[in-house]
């Protein structure tokens, strides 16, 4: 089943809620829908293997697939997903194949939209640190994720500014993280209605009372804020006030009918549902950025079987994102980053798995991204330094790091000069990573 606008459940106009919202909506910013740009980060949790995807090798010690394919400037691992059993899926459910995407199909379809960055040196083999670096550009734990930074800078007042269900999603207090679930959403979006199927038919309080309660709450919070001198209390009061300004807009969300996939694809189903929800948030003008995680890439054993399968799920999820975004008319406004914790290898261990390796790759797609390939690794899977101006291989140049990726991403988003970004500076300078 493809994403279909008709499968969305429209919750209603929300007129009743808008009436009670009036006293707390301050200024136009909370009411005005956010219209882009949007940012999505999909993280291949566990540490993906670029050798099996966008940085292929012919050396059989490093890779056990038949060859290397090329499409335009891109090289890719010519792995196969035709045999479901070979990648650990049930061959008796052939429709599973409808929800997988091969490397070849992906590169052929997205060659004009895709930028591959190879040879990224994460300088770590640790999952936590690698995940942090992928999400924030920084190895320490005191930095916000890019998604949080973008949401805070571009749409801090939006109800679903930063939606996350995976990956590194620390916010450092810049913006609230939201976890969305289709279940019970109507009860949340219409909290003053006892009958959420027909909003307005059975409110808990008379119309004037709802507004009066909210107004009294706002006035009391102002009093409490004025009396409070401890920063933690002030932060908490501010967060609650902000969330209350946001909640009045929830009824504008068009909730999707959750996509359901056949057996063996439960993790992918979760990712696709999160894609649905984050796009719904974007479409409603409530969201700025989203962080989504797909696990299963930590393939210390049976690497080929398990890794090829997870990559095929990941690529389908990316495809689903773009197809769905196009349906909603959002595709031109979305920038996507895809990362892993680090890389894998070099070569195999005794259980046909691949262990951790600090050199990895990253993908960028969509708004503001120039298609192409930059960066590379040598035959031993070590990072090749690049010229800081042309990004051509240069032994006297610099290694591409997660900080470089994030510096470029901040620039693309137009937030590199914001106060929030300035509070979390990145080392290493600027490279023309994204074109």
């Amino acid at each position: 089943m493809r994403f279909d606008r008709r499968n969305f459940l429209k919750l209603g106009a929300g007129a009743g809620l808008a009436l009670v919202a009036a006293p707390l909506v301050r200024g136009a910013s909370a009411a005005a829908p956010y219209q882009g740009p949007y940012f999505v980060h999909i993280h291949a949790s566990g540490g993906w293997d670029p050798i099996y995807f966008c940085d292929p090798k012919s050396d059989p010690a490093l890779a056990r697939y038949p060859g290397v394919g090329t499409v335009g400037p891109f090289s890719y691992a010519a792995t196969s997903i035709a045999d479901l059993a070979a990648i650990g899926l049930d061959p008796l459910i052939p429709e599973i194949s409808n929800y997988l995407m091969s490397n070849q199909a992906f590169f052929e379809k997205y060659q004009t939209k895709l930028r591959v960055v190879n040879g990224v040196d994460t300088a770590t083999n640790n999952h936590d640190i690698g995940t942090r670096a992928a999400g924030s550009g920084q190895n320490t734990d005191s930095y916000p994720s890019f998604g949080a930074l973008a949401a805070a800078t571009l749409g801090r007042d939006k109800a679903l500014a930063y939606v996350s269900n995976g990956g590194y999603d620390a916010t450092q207090g810049l913006v609230a993280t939201t976890r969305l679930s289709a279940a019970s959403y109507a009860r949340i979006a219409y909290p003053f209605e006892s009958n959420t199927t027909t909003p307005g038919s059975a409110p808990y309080h008379l119309g004037g009372t709802q507004a009066r309660i909210r107004a009294a709450q706002a006035a009391r919070m102002s009093t409490l804020t004025a009396r409070s001198h401890l920063p933690r209390v002030k932060r908490a009061l501010g967060a609650l006030e902000t969330s209350r300004r946001e909640d009045t807009t929830l009824s504008t969300l068009t909730l999707p009918t959750p996509i359901v996939l056949p057996g063996g694809l439960g993790d992918e189903q979760g990712v696709l549902q999160q894609v649905q929800l984050c796009l719904a948030a974007f479409d409603a003008g409530l969201g700025v950025s989203a962080s989504i995680g797909l696990g299963g890439f930590d393939t210390h054993a049976n690497h080929d079987q398990n890794h090829i399968r997870q990559l095929a799920k990941l690529l389908y999820a990316i495809d689903y994102l773009w197809e769905s975004a196009a349906t909603l008319g959002l595709a031109d406004q979305i920038t996507l980053m895809v990362t892993g914790d680090f890389g894998r290898g070099p070569g195999y261990n005794v259980t046909n798995g691949k262990d951790h390796w600090p050199v990895t790759s990253a993908l960028f797609m969509g708004r503001g991204v120039t298609p192409g390939v930059v960066g590379s690794t040598d035959a031993g899977q070590r990072p090749v330094a690049v010229s800081p101006t042309t990004l051509a291989p240069n032994p006297n140049g610099v290694r591409i790091t997660p900080a470089h990726l994030h510096q470029a991403l901040r620039k693309l988003a137009g937030i590199e000069g914001s106060a929030d970004a300035a509070a979390f500076p990145l080392a290493g300078g600027e490279l023309p990573i994204l074109g």
């Binding site: 300088a123 770590t124 936590d128 640190i129 005191s142 109800a159 679903l160 995976g166 609230a176 993280t177 939201t178 976890r179 969305l180 679930s181 279940a183 019970s184 009860r187 949340i188 979006a189 909290p191 003053f192 006892s194 808990y204 008379l206 009372t209 009066r212 309660i213 009294a216 709450q217 006035a219 009391r220 009093t223 409070s228 001198h229 401890l230 920063p231 933690r232 209390v233 932060r235 908490a236 009061l237 967060a239 609650l240 969330s243 209350r244 946001e246 929830l250 979760g270 409530l286 210390h300 054993a301 070099p346 261990n349 798995g353 262990d355 390796w357 600090p358 050199v359 070590r382 509070a423």
Partner: protein, 759 residues
């Protein structure tokens, strides 16, 4: 100089002087932290003089712990003070070695007469003539005078809600009130001792430790925990046997197995055992259901009592003979082993990391946070023992990993005495002590005994409790290039002083868990309510984590609703599960212990929507119902009748207004813990809300008299404690004066209040 010695002058009543050149009142400990560590050892010595550093390999006595090590400043201060006393020809080694005047593996680091040299000189002088703590106290705890703490009664309310999900009893209130400020600590201790005998306290500890161990992952559906157990050792766990049980028995069995490590912790607390037993116990605990699953012969008075936990020693059959299970408290629990699994290549390192994190307060990855260089990593045959970037971490985690050597990598809880350790790895052990090979079959208990006696164990448990009860992650020492280093360092030292004091009390009390609970409850981090005045930016940073401003978790909010209103926010009259722990657990920022393991600590629009929904539904459920109850049993309206109105026949009724104000005073106390006078501005605000709602309703009633009936959903027809329908004679259907609905608006207002949603 990183630290402004005068920062705390602003907030301290103890004058410190402002001559930064002489810094007359820098205590020895502060001097070490700011000067010796900050300017010398933390920048140079620590590069080599760590447990896994080059100096340690040369058997150096002078070893330093990095900032990720708990109480690293205290540890390093003590060690450096000891080393300072070692002299060669009358001069301390601490001066001779870094200046190259005697052989030093690290070479000459600075010259005689340099600033670093002068700092070390003064440090050595101070070790010989310590400063007077009375005239020059440690600065770390200065400044607390600026913080306004909750008074005794409100600390009590917060504590009982936090620990037992209930309001204080009248006796407890009297005890604390009569104790006054001087006797408050003792009174709180007495109350907490009582609370820890209550079943609800163990619900709280279960949550607290599940946030650490995340074993609730295995109760998502029946059979998930039991299904992990291998059927060879535990035949009753085999699907063919287990699935024959009635559904209720399967649910209870699965829950008992999933939470076994946490129930072991609860058992240790309940039985007043030293808390070290959580890693040393040579037993586990079972209830009637898990006893049956494990096949252990225990007789229970009531075979359906899920709360009857007994100590048992498990055994498995190997080579045809029973072999005792190598119990080591939580560490040998099948669920802990599954929740933190290993693989054939991971070789128990993940578990070792968890031992460090959860029981030794040590983020081993932060200690070994050293960049890995892919260009050189392949230059070593055995990188984990040869590459400096690798061995700094592996030298510490691999020995502990070796203590788990007998567990099968493909079946996490399968204990196999035939398995052996890997000769290319560091030998099994703990820190620098190696496990004798003849003890390999008991390697885990060997490890547990050493973890229990390590000083970091007390720190680790203190931190878990602190985080659980305050919602604050313990601070870490800031990086030296942190732009807010001074403030963060001061805040860290202040918190570290409090936490290390609690940890010491815990050890002194023979690891009585209650000691930590009491220490945290009585600390300013739990009790801070406000500051005396507006704070400048630096001081605000110092107190950044003070304040009773924790957004409540869904579980704790659920209990608070019940405590305050007398009824849960149940899903329906027949499904008594709480909304906040089912439908809204994840949207309200909770965890599922599986994919979502971090709680949200600040509300967002979705959570605000949940809070409004809760306030409205609960107000609808409990307002009319409370009026149906005998006056003495009412939680919300013990002093008010539905006939009390502020105006009669268009004329103001002072008596009616007074009664309504009295009712509001009670509700502010009951719901928000605010003790207010009837003419307090907050009562004025609430009264105005009541009055305007009432007038609006009366006008609506005048227009449409049929609306005298309460909203269909909000009538008092159900006992909200049980979901049972009330006898018809007790039901409350009509609201002719619009007072019930006016009070309902007040309940919505109070339940959605900042102070109700936060603790």
């Amino acid at each position: 100089m990183k630290f402004s010695a005068c920062l705390l002058v602003i907030v301290s009543s103890a004058a410190c002087g402002n001559d930064r050149a002489t810094e007359p009142c820098l205590s020895d400990k502060d001097f070490f932290e700011q000067k010796v560590w900050g300017e010398v050892m933390g920048k140079t010595c620590v590069r080599c003089h760590t447990l896994a550093g080059p100096a340690a390999e040369k058997s150096a006595r002078f070893l330093l712990q990095p900032p990720a090590f708990p109480s690293f400043l205290d540890v390093n201060f003590a060690n450096a003070s000891e080393i300072a006393q070692i002299e060669i020809s009358g001069t301390s080694e601490l001066l001779l070695k870094p200046t190259g005047l005697v052989d030093h593996g690290g070479g000459t680091l600075f010259e005689v007469g340099s600033e670093e040299h002068l700092i070390l000189q003064e440090f050595i002088a101070r070790t010989e003539n310590p400063s007077d703590p009375a005239s020059c106290p440690d600065q770390a705890v200065s400044g607390l005078e600026q913080v306004v703490l909750l008074d005794g009664p409100h600390t009590l309310r917060k504590a009982t809600l936090e620990l037992a999900g209930r309001l204080p009893t009248a006796g407890e209130k009297d005890l604390v009130t009569n104790a006054g400020d001087e006797g408050l600590d003792a009174a709180l201790d007495q109350v907490i001792d009582q609370i820890t005998t209550e079943p609800a306290f163990y619900d709280r500890t279960t949550e607290l430790f599940n946030d650490v161990f995340l074993v609730d992952r295995y109760i998502t559906f029946t059979g998930r925990a039991t299904g992990l157990l291998n059927a060879t050792d535990w035949p009753n766990a085999a699907a063919a046997v287990f699935n024959l049980l009635p559904q209720l028995d399967r649910d209870r069995t699965n829950l008992a197995v999933a939470r076994e490590p946490i129930q072991l912790i609860n058992h240790v607390i309940r039985q007043n055992r030293p808390f070290t037993e959580v890693v040393t116990a040579d037993y586990t605990v079972v209830n009637p259901y898990s006893a049956a699953l494990y096949g252990v012969p225990v007789t229970f008075m009531d075979p359906t009592n899920v709360n009857d936990w007994r100590e048992v020693k498990l055994s498995v059959t190997r080579a045809g003979s029973p072999v005792p299970w190598p119990h080591s408290g939580v560490l040998s629990s099948p669920m802990w082993l599954n929740r933190f699994p290993t693989t054939t290549t991971n070789r128990n390192r993940h578990r070792a990391r968890m031992v460090y994190r959860d029981f030794l307060a040590t983020d081993i990855l932060a200690i070994a946070d050293r960049p890995i260089d892919a260009a050189t990593a392949t230059a070593f045959l055995n990188p984990t023992r040869e590459d400096p970037a690798c061995k700094v971490c592996h030298a510490q985690i691999d020995p502990i990993a070796g203590a788990f050597q007998k567990w099968n990598a493909n079946d996490q809880e399968l204990w196999d005495p035939a398995l052996n350790w890997f000769p290319e790895m560091y030998p099994p052990g703990f820190e620098r002590e190696v496990i004798p090979s003849n003890e390999f079959s008991r390697a885990l208990p060997w490890l547990g005994a050493r973890v229990a006696t390590d000083p970091r164990f007390a720190v680790a448990i203190t931190r878990h409790v602190f985080e659980g009860l305050t919602g604050q992650t313990p601070l870490t020492y800031p990086a030296t290039d942190d732009v807010r280093f001074d403030t963060r360092r001061a805040a860290y030292v202040m918190q570290e002083t409090v936490l290390s004091g609690i940890a010491r009390d815990f050890v002194d009390a023979n690891y009585d868990f209650r000691t930590i609970v009491k220490g945290v409850i009585k600390s300013p981090y739990f009790r801070a309510d406000n500051a005396l005045d507006a704070l400048d930016e630096e001081t605000a940073g110092l107190f950044a984590d003070f304040g009773t401003a924790r957004f409540m978790t869904p579980e704790r909010l659920a209990r608070k609703i019940q405590a305050v209103t007398g009824a849960p926010w149940a899903r329906t009259t027949t499904d008594r599960r709480d909304n906040l722990t089912t439908d809204f657990r994840i949207p309200y920022g909770g965890i599922d212990s599986d994919l979502i393991v971090e709680r949200l600590t600040a509300p967002n629009g979705i959570m605000s929507g949940v809070a409004w929904r809760m306030a409205n539904e609960v107000a609808c459920n409990v307002t009319a119902w409370d009026f149906t109850r005998p006056v003495a049993e009412r939680s919300l309206f013990p002093q008010i009748a539905i006939t009390d109105v502020p105006e009669v026949m268009g004329t103001a009724s002072p008596d009616g207004e007074a009664k309504i104000r009295a009712g509001l005073v009670h509700l502010h106390e009951q719901v928000l813990g605010e003790a207010l006078a009837p003419n307090d501005p907050e009562i004025d605000r609430s009264y105005q809300l009541w009055l305007e709602t009432w007038r609006e309703g009366k006008a609506a009633l005048a227009a449409v008299p049929a609306q005298a009936s309460a909203n269909m959903l909000c009538r008092g027809r159900v006992d909200q404690r049980t979901g049972a329908t009330l006898p018809v004679a007790e039901q409350l259907d009509r609201d002719p004066d619009y007072t019930i609905r006016s009070w309902m608006a007040i309940i919505t207002y109070l339940l959605s209040d900042y102070r109700f949603l936060h603790s």
